[in-house]
């Protein structure tokens, strides 16, 4: 079970003065249960890439295979695919439209053709799993705070019970607390249900703590792909394209320069702490 991208290219406004080659020859394999971070500068093609994964955008050339099936096949049910690969857009709170939060969250499962009862059951579970208190559920979604709205919007996608969950910059415009809450919820979904998760972000600090694999995009191509440790080892190349490794990576490098025996790579605070304590115990 996997998503495979084979030489995918995408060109916006092809054959006009505004032509933009947004994806260049992307080859990618995403396995079941992975927790992946996609990072890159604004305009590097992250959003374009993920919209291909659920078939919303059609590659200009190249193929995409979901669980071994070509999603561009004529008889492939792409509407169903959108339910299996859930995509939460950037600023998803802008898509809310129903009179109550509960009705808005049931929109997805209803579109999947489920009965009212089943749809509501799914909405119930989804709202529970994003941790929105029950006394909000029958209020208008427009009365909520920014972070709460965003959780409702995420619940709206979760209610379709996707196998893969993709979030496009889910923390954009949130305060540090709102950011941690959302990312912790997402990490919990990964742990508890072993859901495949793809987290798009332009902030290294955000994703480094959570993900198992990092894909770095630059100008429409995949520049690096590996564990956070492997990726951050290339911190100089990352800087050259306007991305920075987490602060802690720099600290470890400085320590090494001063002759303290720590491993060169650490991606999270905990890892670094362990390593530094070890070095001083010796």
């Amino acid at each position: 079970m996997s998503i495979i991208l084979d030489k995918v290219n995408y060109v916006y406004s092809e054959k006009t003065a505004y032509e933009i080659h947004a994806l260049k020859n992307i080859n990618l394999k995403i396995e079941d249960g992975e927790f992946i971070g996609v990072i890159g500068h604004t305009g590097s093609g992250k959003s374009t890439l993920i919209q291909h994964l659920n078939g919303l955008m059609h590659a200009t050339s190249g193929g995409i295979y979901y669980n071994g099936q070509d999603i561009y096949d004529e008889d492939y049910d792409r509407k169903k695919l959108r339910g299996r690969v859930g995509l939460v857009f950037q600023y998803p709170e802008h898509q809310l439209f129903e009179t109550t939060i509960f009705a808005d969250v049931s929109f997805g499962p209803k579109n999947q053709g489920l009965s009212k009862k089943e749809a509501e059951l799914k909405a119930f579970t989804a709202l529970r799993s994003v941790g929105l208190p029950e006394d909000y559920w029958y209020r208008s979604p427009f009365e909520l705070s920014g972070g709460q709205k965003r959780r409702v919007a995420i619940a709206g996608v979760l209610a379709m019970e996707p196998e893969v969950l993709i979030l496009d910059e889910p923390t954009a415009g949130l305060d540090p607390r709102g950011r941690d809450e959302i990312l912790d919820q997402v990490a919990k979904l990964h742990e508890e249900r072993n859901m495949t998760i793809i987290l798009v972000s332009h902030s290294m600090e955000d994703v480094a703590k959570y993900v198992e694999r990092l894909i770095v995009m630059n100008q429409g191509s995949i520049m690096l792909d590996g564990t956070p440790g492997e990726v951050f080892a290339h911190y100089q190349e990352l800087e050259a394209v306007g991305l920075a490794a987490p602060q802690i990576t720099y600290l470890m490098h400085d320590l090494r320069k001063r002759g303290i025996q720590v491993p060169g790579i650490a991606t999270t605070l905990e890892e670094a702490k362990e390593a530094i304590l070890q070095a001083f115990k010796k």
Partner: protein
């Protein structure tokens, strides 16, 4: 999808026409449109055609790009041609059932088609080579005299440029919301009329909310920068005529006089 609408869109290029003052281009476009209604006979036809070909060549906008704007008027064009073709009395060429095609009808239909096509092409040269901002700037300055008559020229042109600025933003927004709802399994295409209308709700509600939010933000931002209307306001890029503009004015005036002369003399 929605972004591919080309009518009234700016095409960036570096040409003589792009560099002209928007007022000059407005004037020239107006004269050209007038000439389309004035010209008569083959000589006149040759004159307007020559002028159009020249302008298209000078503008450096690919012809194929320009022709796309014609699709929008295809229906009107066909109806006009049919009416002229069948409903003009005169010397009959062919006749079947109750319909009759005459020489005069054929000629009228031909000229009408030319007029309409040239009209669209001519005015699209204006919009393709002038950014909406330049266009409203030019209009504001050209219409300034009306300020004396208490016509709020600045306010009208400000509203126009804001509206124009918002069209692509709203199109983009529609595109985004549509995709977001599609990702939640929405279906905008199938079903009967009522079902289709209903399926627009998840699109229209967020769109309206976003339009109001943007309008609010913009008003706030303008007030925060002490915007207070047109009095005493200066421009970052004030419009000034250059030599090319004078030449363009003379050329278009000469052209227009020529078309009239052709009509009177021949």
């Amino acid at each position: 999808m929605l972004r591919d609408i080309t009518i009234g869109q700016y095409y960036p290029a570096d040409s003589v026409i792009h560099r002209l003052d928007p007022r000059t281009k407005l004037m020239a476009a107006m004269l050209y449109i007038l000439s389309l209604f004035v010209f008569q006979g083959w000589a006149g036809f040759a004159a307007v055609t020559l002028a159009l070909v020249l302008m298209i060549a000078l503008s450096k906008v690919p012809f194929g790009y320009m022709v796309r704007g014609l699709k929008a008027i295809a229906v009107i064009l066909i109806i006009t041609i049919l009416f002229n073709l069948f409903l003009t009395p005169g010397e009959t060429i062919v006749e079947f059932w109750k319909l009759r095609i005459t020489w005069e009808g054929l000629k009228n239909a031909g000229f009408m088609a030319v007029r309409l096509t040239y009209l669209i092409l001519g005015s699209s040269i204006l919009t393709l080579t002038t950014t909406p901002n330049q266009l409203t700037d030019g209009m504001e300055k050209a219409l300034k005299p009306f300020n004396k008559l208490h016509v709020p020229v600045h306010e009208i042109s400000m509203m126009m440029s804001i509206a124009l600025r918002f069209i692509p933003i709203l199109i983009e927004e529609t595109d985004k919301i549509m995709k977001a709802q599609l990702a939640r399994g929405a279906d905008f295409e199938s079903g009967n009329l009522i079902k289709k209308a209903k399926s627009m709700v998840p699109l229209l509600v967020p769109l309206f909310i976003s339009a109001f939010r943007r309008a609010n933000d913009l008003a706030m931002a303008m007030e925060a920068r002490c915007y207070h209307g047109g009095d005493g306001r200066t421009k970052m890029k004030p419009l000034r005529y250059k030599k090319a503009d004078i030449a363009a004015y003379l050329l278009s005036a000469g052209y227009f006089a020529g078309v009239i002369a052709l009509k009177v003399l021949l």
